[in-house]
Symmetry: C2
Subunit: 215 residues, 2 copies
DNA sequence: CCTACCGATCGGTAGG
DNA sequence: CCTACCGATCGGTAGG
């Protein structure tokens, strides 16, 4: 029993509901994530949306401008979840686990986010770095601070390199979802591969941060 | 005092020395790694080599065939270092550290290898997965076995998920070199960022595998 | 938001 | 290994 389209996810129906701009962003995000910016034509995105190419170029003046808009939309969504991440990082029990789970949820909701970030870091590392410095700075600073404070109180291993540790944990989270289809070489065809990878990621982050005595 | 070109690294001089095919592979590897397959034109590679486009298409019949050849060359080089990696993994002291350092050296020698692998895992995950299953299987099996045996003897943490752990450590090594230009958001402009990341990677792998008592 | 069209470049081929 | 060229597609614009 199909309900009247309430949350249309495919670009064509989003466009049909009136939000052409939003439909273009969704279609472009999928194409850029799965095939890359350079391998995606404006025409292909227009086809996904059900519009003519010049219509797309009315909403986004150029192809590079569309890329920026896609990245803006991604980082806007990050800003939406950031408060929850910060809350998890600064209060309550099991701060590390709940913080990681919050970030993981962001990529779990849409693995295209992870693929897009990884592609950008390959295509235009300097540009992404500049963006992330602004958008990611507060969260990273808090985590680094949390690690350093833990080290002063002996709760965190003394030999942890706080900045490098955060970098690697973020890399693990992004890479985990961006490379889900291939990194399971070792995991064969385990049906629960995704959950196992997330669980092991969290375990690795925890054991590499805290001494055994405090687990 | 320039010595007579002994180890020419740029495609044009490799071609001039007679190895046109090799020059094409080097140029294609660089372009595919830095800009991606879809964003690289056959003409651009031919220009790097100093040949005409039809000459390139004489050596490699199609652009997709060139991509396969580039990947073949990469995995051939891996086969060269594999014995050393296996030796490090199966004998001597500090097996884990020396094994990781051997693999890290492979990517350190040419970070394009890491970028290329990451791009392939985004562009064609199924194809790369099939390739890696053949090429990477022996090494992964040995490491997984090593972890499992360690768990039986109590030398390795009981809650380690061997397959997921290997997957993540490989992801860290590849990602570390592929995203060197951007992942340092947290590391600011530390001049020793690269060494710090490698050191922290090894530390994370070690502490997430072994209980503190056995360090 | 469309049709019609632009010059440039794409991967690839004919022929030598 | 080259020159010359192919049809198709590229991002983008004119004009409405």
């Amino acid at each position: 029993m199909p309900t009247p389209a309430s949350l249309p996810r495919d670009p064509a129906s989003i466009a049909a509901s009136g939000d052409v701009r939003g439909a273009i962003l969704v279609a472009a995000t999928r194409r850029f994530a799965s095939k890359g910016f350079g391998a995606t034509s404006v025409q292909a995105i227009a086809d996904d949306v059900g519009s003519a190419k010049p219509s797309l170029l009315y909403w986004f003046k150029t192809k590079p401008a569309l890329r920026e808009a896609v990245l803006d939309a991604l980082l806007d969504r990050w800003k939406d979840v950031l408060p929850g991440v910060l809350a998890a990082a600064t209060s309550g029990e099991d701060r590390l686990d709940s913080t990681l789970r919050a970030v993981i949820g962001f990529f779990e909701d849409d693995p295209d986010r992870a693929r897009l970030l990884l592609r950008e870091s390959l295509d235009r590392p300097a540009a992404l770095r500049a963006r992330l410095r602004v958008q990611l700075a507060p969260w990273v600073a808090i985590v680094v601070d949390y690690v350093r404070r833990g080290q002063r109180y002996g709760e965190v291993r003394a030999d942890v390199d706080a900045e490098a540790w955060v970098t690697h944990v973020v890399l693990l989270m992004v890479g985990c979802f961006a490379t889900a289809g291939v990194a399971d070489v070792a995991l064969a065809d385990a049906p629960d591969a995704a959950e196992r990878r997330v669980a092991e990621l969290v375990r690795m982050a925890r054991t590499s941060l805290f001494p055994d005595a405090l687990h």
